[in-house]
């Protein structure tokens, strides 16, 4: 019973995922994106870096990277906290 209902839900959801990916634009032909054009043409002059991806990661969208570093920090703190040895001292 549980398995049948679960399979039904799973198949229904997957169907919509397939529909979404099928009706997306064709692979390899993105629309004219001004944002990416701006990055490619201005990265060397503004961020003075040859690697456009790094200039996005640390300059244009640097705030995301701060969030990313925060995520890693959080996870490390969480792992160290969950696996800490001593119990309560009471």
């Amino acid at each position: 019973m549980r398995k049948a209902l679960g399979l039904f839900a799973f198949l229904g959801f997957t169907l919509f995922l397939l529909a979404a990916t099928m009706s997306l634009r064709p692979f390899g032909a993105p629309p004219h994106t001004e944002m990416d054009h701006y990055f490619i043409t201005h990265a060397q002059e503004q961020a003075s870096a040859n690697n456009v991806v790094t200039s996005i990661v640390f300059d244009y969208r640097g705030f995301d990277t701060l969030g990313e570093a925060t995520v890693l920090f959080t996870a490390v703190a969480g792992v160290l906290m969950v696996l800490r040895r001593k119990e309560v001292s009471s």
Binding site: D36, I56, V57, A75
Partner: protein, 122 residues
């Protein structure tokens, strides 16, 4: 026409199948570590989706160092790559924390069977 669309959108179809595999693992496998593997498959599928979105046919990597002459003005979109980098780091963080929880659960419950890890219910 239909077959043509499948041929063109092939990476996207792969992404959808991988998402389905990940959801199948999470929904129907009983081992906790298998469930974590399912989450990682989901993450990889979403990463692949982002990168496939950014690909331009015949484009070059968005790096100017020692690039071929044709690369100027013909680069793949760099934004999805930056997003994917962030997403990969988040994936590592999530799986590390999940494994820590799994180890701790094994210490206390003596099993990794999901159907027996349910003291909290009702």
């Amino acid at each position: 026409m239909n077959g043509n669309i499948i041929a063109i959108n092939f990476p996207f179809i792969v992404v959808a199948l991988l998402l389905a595999l990940g959801f199948y693992t999470i929904g129907f496998k009983r081992n906790l570590i298998k469930v974590v593997i399912g989450v990682e498959i989901l993450e990889s599928a979403v990463n692949l989706f982002l990168i496939a979105l950014g690909y331009v046919k015949g484009g070059y990597a968005p790096i100017y160092t020692l690039a071929p002459k044709k690369a100027v003005g013909n680069m793949v979109l760099p934004t999805p790559q930056a997003l994917t980098l962030t997403s990969i780091v988040i994936g590592v963080a999530v799986s590390a924390l999940m494994l820590a929880f799994a180890v701790n659960i094994y210490r206390h419950y003596g099993t990794l069977d999901v159907t027996r890890i349910r003291r909290l219910r009702g």
